[in-house]
């Protein structure tokens, strides 16, 4: 019998619609995935800092790029300042509507960003991500 690893998900997106869509897609993909959404990157960072250190990667962050006050890039830069024992618990995916090449290049340049996904998030996409992480 194979034991299925259970991931948590954090969504950071200023659009409440896109948060809701992502939540639904995640729940439709794997019922046992837990989801927490933030419309404000600062609050998400506080939450992550509050959870403290983690033994291994168990949380996927879906991060929007264009957001007011703190955009996705600033979020990643501040995330990368956190202690390594906190950081190792997370894998970040950009989920964005941007088709701007500069955004894409810059997004891929961060070492804590695993990949760059186009909106809208779909169950097929998500399944692929999880399969890859489990391997």
């Amino acid at each position: 019998m194979k034991t299925v690893k259970r991931y948590h998900c954090i969504i950071v997106d200023d659009s409440p619609f896109d948060c809701l869509i992502a939540e639904k897609v995640i729940q439709n993909t794997q019922r046992h995935l837990s989801v927490t959404s933030f419309q404000d990157g600062g609050k998400a960072l506080d939450y992550i800092t509050g959870l403290g250190s983690k033994p291994e990667m168990d949380t996927i962050i879906f991060l929007d790029i264009q957001m007011p006050v703190m955009n996705g890039f600033t979020f990643v830069e501040q995330f990368e300042e956190l202690p390594a024992e906190i950081r190792r618990g997370y894998g970040i995916f950009f989920t964005t509507s941007s088709i701007n090449q500069n955004d894409i290049t810059r997004g891929k340049s961060y070492k804590s960003v695993l990949n760059f996904l186009n909106k809208p998030l779909t169950t097929a996409n998500l399944q692929q991500i999880i399969d890859k992480l489990v391997q």
Partner: protein
């Protein structure tokens, strides 16, 4: 008095020539002279509005061509003309190739020829300096266009992608309730997209349109706004208080005024604090001595003082609450600039905001 006159710098080592030049042209032009290139530099520093430089070729310290070669580096704008009594082919070639002179004038010059050379040189100067001004305007417009295209792409695409996401979920939905939930979301996304397109339309109305000045029917303007916001006030339990005081007529562009008021009111209604009791939006319009004063106040979420300086910037958003595009206040500021109006804002986070405007009549 001197503002309209062409400013000419004449350089010659022979003092009599300088006196003669001054005597002939001081009535029509603003004439500045120098007896050597060294002295000419001081004059160029002191008079940045010199548009034509005329220099003798044969001077003891430096030839006219050598001098112009340096002038080209340090003061590229004024038009250069070389004056010499010798038919010196080498000087002429040097003048053209190294000094980039506009004209070559033979000594002794005749007054009419000199005059027409100065006039043409000056016209050339005006044309080239206008060109470089236009160029820097274009450069600025291009930068703004880049920013515009980047943000517009995002703001147009994101509601579309939200709807596509909602369609995927609706297709897989197991209950009609969930389908309706998604339909609701799609409708709201489309409202957001439509609002954004209206903002773009406002942007172009203000940026490219000519002002259309007429006497503004203030009561009608206020009724139009009430027509939109009274209903929103009732459904969202926001007390909409409007007061109008008008002494005398006021002339301006009613459409531009409407864009200003509509944007400010839309923000005041949008950025309310959900938990607050006694929510209100207050609009005051006062016309006095051909000047319009407007106040728009609310007790909503307010603006952090950190961001107050940036709220009028294009695409700047100070909050992730509401469905802002970062376009509204930019349009307000742009519209006010067109009407020579002023705006000030006082706000505290979580307490509300007060915008005060004054607009002179036309």
């Amino acid at each position: 008095m001197m503002g309209g006159k062409i400013k000419v710098l004449y350089i010659d080592d022979e003092p009599n020539n300088l006196v003669g030049f001054k005597a002939s042209f001081r009535r029509d032009y603003d004439v500045v002279t120098a007896q050597s290139p060294a002295k000419a530099w001081a004059q160029l520093e002191m008079h940045p509005d010199i548009s034509v430089i005329i220099s003798d070729q044969r001077m003891p310290d430096q030839t006219g061509v050598e001098f112009f070669e340096e002038v080209r580096e340090r003061f590229p704008a004024p038009v250069r003309m070389l004056c010499t009594g010798y038919t010196d082919v080498r000087a002429v070639i040097g003048a053209i190739n190294k000094g980039h002179v506009f004209r070559y004038i033979q000594k002794p010059w005749n007054e009419d020829d000199m005059r027409s050379a100065i006039e043409e040189g000056h016209n050339y100067y005006i044309a080239t300096s206008m060109l470089s001004e236009r160029n820097s305007e274009l450069l600025k417009a291009n930068t703004e266009l880049d920013k515009f295209a980047y943000s517009v792409t995002h703001d147009l695409r994101s509601p579309i992608l939200s709807v596509l996401g909602a369609i995927n979920i609706a297709k897989a939905a197991k209950s009609t309730y969930e389908v309706h939930e998604m339909l609701d979301m799609m409708a709201q996304s489309m409202v957001k997209l439509d609002g954004f397109i209206h903002n773009i339309h406002d942007y172009y109305t203000i940026k490219r349109g000519e002002l259309n000045i007429t006497e503004v029917n203030i009561p009608e303007l206020v009724e139009n706004l009430k027509g939109i916001y009274n209903l929103e006030g009732v459904t969202s339990h926001i007390d909409f208080r409007v007061s109008v005081e008008q002494e005398g007529a006021f002339r301006s562009d009613p459409i531009v005024l409407y864009i200003i008021l509509n944007n400010l009111l839309s923000n005041a209604f949008k950025y309310q604090k959900r938990t607050r009791e006694n929510k209100f939006v207050r609009l005051l319009i006062r016309v006095k001595n051909n000047e319009l004063f407007i106040e728009v106040e609310d007790n909503g979420i307010g603006i952090h003082e950190h961001y107050l300086d940036s709220i009028f910037d294009m695409f700047y958003r100070a909050t992730s609450e509401g469905f802002g595009s970062g376009f509204g206040l930019y349009n307000v500021k742009d519209a006010l600039d067109k009407l020579n109006g002023k705006i000030s804002v006082a706000s505290k986070k979580n307490e509300g905001a007060l915008f005060k405007l004054s607009i002179p009549g036309k």
